[in-house]
């Protein structure tokens, strides 16, 4: 079973292909998409178990020797990300059954979702910097399909922006990889790390580090490169928004964390200092956005930006607490953003509007929705024992250890802003006088409730079960902290 680490990539890919043959049969598409993701979930859970038992799993495609062929590497960090990705996608698919509409489902909706998962999992798993570009393209092209599918005027307008931004950043990605190759002469990520250590990171490598930060910063939406995100993400329907919000920016964040812990570790004063300043600015910009809008979607979308800032702030500390906090917070954020988007999707479905000022009194008509929203909101803000707490605690602890007092104060203050922004939704939508609601069918509502409840419960378990998850998180942050584990696993032969 040396190919095990590829299964979470291959299985969604296989099912995405099979779905191409059944364009008109929606029920079959729904079933096959769910079956494929459940199979992939089983494979990824087994992968986490294997990585825990036997350490980092690697394979070099086509039986080529390691620095020459394309290596795929699954350490605990990427295995956990892959598993979380598949869980969220499975729930998004179930949520889509009742909320997407048959018109979209007829046009390869589920295929596109599965192709996107292929790309996301591939980007998390690959150990080759050019191959990472290829998987970025796979997930981006699938996301182009998802963002434009439906062809509403707003979607068409925003997808032009989205495609343009991503084409430019992809071009920059290739250019950066070419620079890097011209300096170190290799594309294998473990080998690059070794070569950079040998030449001791001269100025040109630092320039490449900044270029990489720009490339992945556009994908991961850091300040000041997040400008495209609020508009583009608000255009597609809620399940797609949940998928994008929970997964796509996280791929950029993962890439920054990987390259900044594996490659560019010799001039941390400059590179990681820059990363930290940008992450703090990202948090501040996100906070301003999250408080500025009365639109449900925009508030939660700006919360993505804040979370990206917090994770990268943790990663920039380069110490044990900071990095394990970043890993904790990254996984937490994927779960909780999915849950929040599901919940606001239901609020929008029930009230027929996304404008906070036109809602009110939902607590009387939809109490269960209200309570689950409150749990998710507290989880997002990091109220113990919910899932956001431990990650933020570790990140701030790491920042204090590294003497970055002001940054930690910003992170802590941002928690209050996050809490305020999501509680504002709660106050406007659930308290107050009930507004006249448009009559809606109950069946889609129940169909959306099931995956939402599962995701909220998962995020609560993630917070409560911190103690039990800790060994996995430690493994994940150890690989980030000690690149030699990663390098030895890839180049051992």
């Amino acid at each position: 079973m040396i190919n095990l680490l590829l299964f979470p990539i291959i299985i969604p890919f296989l099912f995405a292909i099979v779905l191409l043959f059944f364009k008109e049969r929606i029920v079959l598409q729904r079933v096959l998409a769910a079956v494929g993701l459940i199979a992939a979930l089983a494979a990824s859970l087994f992968l986490v178990y294997t990585v825990k038992q036997d350490g980092v799993q690697t394979i070099t495609l086509g039986s080529w020797p390691a620095p020459f062929g394309i290596s795929m590497v699954s350490d605990m960090f990427s295995a956990l990300l892959v598993t979380t990705t598949i869980i969220i996608t499975l729930l998004v698919v179930i949520y889509s059954y009742t909320s997407t509409g048959e018109a979209r489902e007829h046009y390869f909706y589920y295929s596109a979702i599965l192709f996107m998962v292929t790309g996301v999992n591939g980007a998390f798993t690959t150990g080759d910097i050019f191959n990472m570009f290829v998987f970025f393209e796979v997930l981006l092209i699938a996301s182009y399909v998802l963002i434009v599918l439906g062809g509403e005027k707003r979607q068409l307008r925003e997808s032009i922006k989205y495609i343009l931004i991503n084409v430019v950043s992809s071009a920059l990605f290739v250019i950066t990889v070419a620079y890097l190759y011209s300096v170190v002469g290799t594309l294998n990520m473990a080998d690059i790390s070794v070569k950079i250590a040998e030449i001791g990171q001269p100025g040109i490598i630092t320039v490449i580090a900044v270029l990489m930060l720009i490339v992945f910063g556009i994908k991961g939406s850091i300040f000041p490169l997040y400008f495209w995100l609020p508009g583009s993400y608000a255009a597609p329907p809620i399940p797609v928004l949940a998928l994008f919000g929970a997964l796509l920016t996280k791929v950029g964040v993962y890439a920054i964390m990987r390259t900044y812990t594996l490659f560019f570790v010799h001039q941390t004063d400059f590179t990681h200092g820059l990363l930290m300043v940008l992450s703090i600015l990202t948090i501040i910009a996100g906070c301003i956005g999250a408080l500025a809008y009365f639109d449900l979607k925009q508030i939660v979308i700006y919360n993505i930006v804040i979370a990206v800032g917090v994770i990268l702030f943790g990663a920039a500390q380069m110490n044990e607490s900071g990095l394990s906090g970043a890993v904790f917070y990254l996984l937490h954020d994927m779960l909780i953003k999915g849950a929040l988007f599901f919940l606001i999707g239901m609020i929008i479905y029930v009230t027929g509007t996304s404008d906070l000022r036109k809602m009110g009194g939902l607590m009387k008509t939809h109490p269960s929705l209200g309570w689950f929203y409150l749990i998710a909101a507290f989880g997002l803000a990091g109220i113990p024992p919910l899932s956001g707490f431990i990650g933020k605690l570790l990140i701030v602890e790491g920042a204090f250890q590294a003497d970055h007092i002001w940054g930690s104060i910003v992170v802590l203050a941002s928690s209050l802003v996050v809490l305020l922004s999501v509680i504002r939704i709660f106050i406007y939508a659930f308290w107050g006088e009930p507004q006249a609601l448009p009559s809606v069918e109950r069946k889609p509502y129940r169909g959306m409730m099931v995956p939402t409840v599962v995701l909220v419960v998962l995020s609560v378990l993630y917070g409560v079960g911190t103690e039990w998850l800790l060994p996995y998180m430690t493994d994940a942050s150890n690989v980030l902290l000690q690149p030699s584990i990663y390098i030895d696993a890839v180049l051992k032969e």
């Binding site: 079973m1 190919n3 099979v18 191409l20 043959f21 070099t60 086509g62």
Partner: protein, 140 residues
């Protein structure tokens, strides 16, 4: 608006087959020399586009009644299947096998599973290029 394109149509009927055969040649040349599924697929699409220019969308669809999306699917399955075959033998994904065989008519021939993968690439390229051209051309 219909122009007299007898010359174009007559030439196309011959040239189409020349281009198509050349595409097949390039496809097999990719075995050890420059060429392969991608270029072969593009050349084939070029031939099909020439048909579309000389005649019209309906005629070509009648002559080649394929759903090109299905062609993409078959191509992807073929490529993935070839690559995934290595899983059965527990060797790294994408490991290929090849050997020399003595075939009637061809004589000593080197056969390589990479050819099956390339055939998948060929079908994907033809399928996606034709899907794009048909959906853009169909709107006009």
């Amino acid at each position: 608006m219909r122009t007299n394109d007898v010359i174009l149509q007559t030439t196309t009927k011959v040239v189409f087959f020349i281009i198509f055969l050349f595409a097949i040649h390039i496809f097999f040349a990719g075995h050890y020399t420059p060429g392969g599924g991608f270029v072969g697929g593009l050349l084939t699409t070029g031939a099909l586009v020439l048909l579309l220019l000389a005649f019209d969308l309906k005629t070509v669809q009648k002559a080649l009644p394929f759903n090109f999306v299905i062609v993409i699917g078959i191509g992807l399955l073929l490529a993935l299947g070839t690559a995934a075959g290595s899983i059965l033998f527990n060797v790294p994904f994408f490991t290929h096998a090849f050997d020399d065989f003595t075939l009637p008519l061809f004589g000593e021939t080197s056969l390589h599973t990479a050819m099956l993968f390339d055939a998948g690439v060929y079908l994907v390229v033809v399928g996606s290029a034709m899907t794009i051209i048909q959906s853009i051309g169909g709107d006009a």
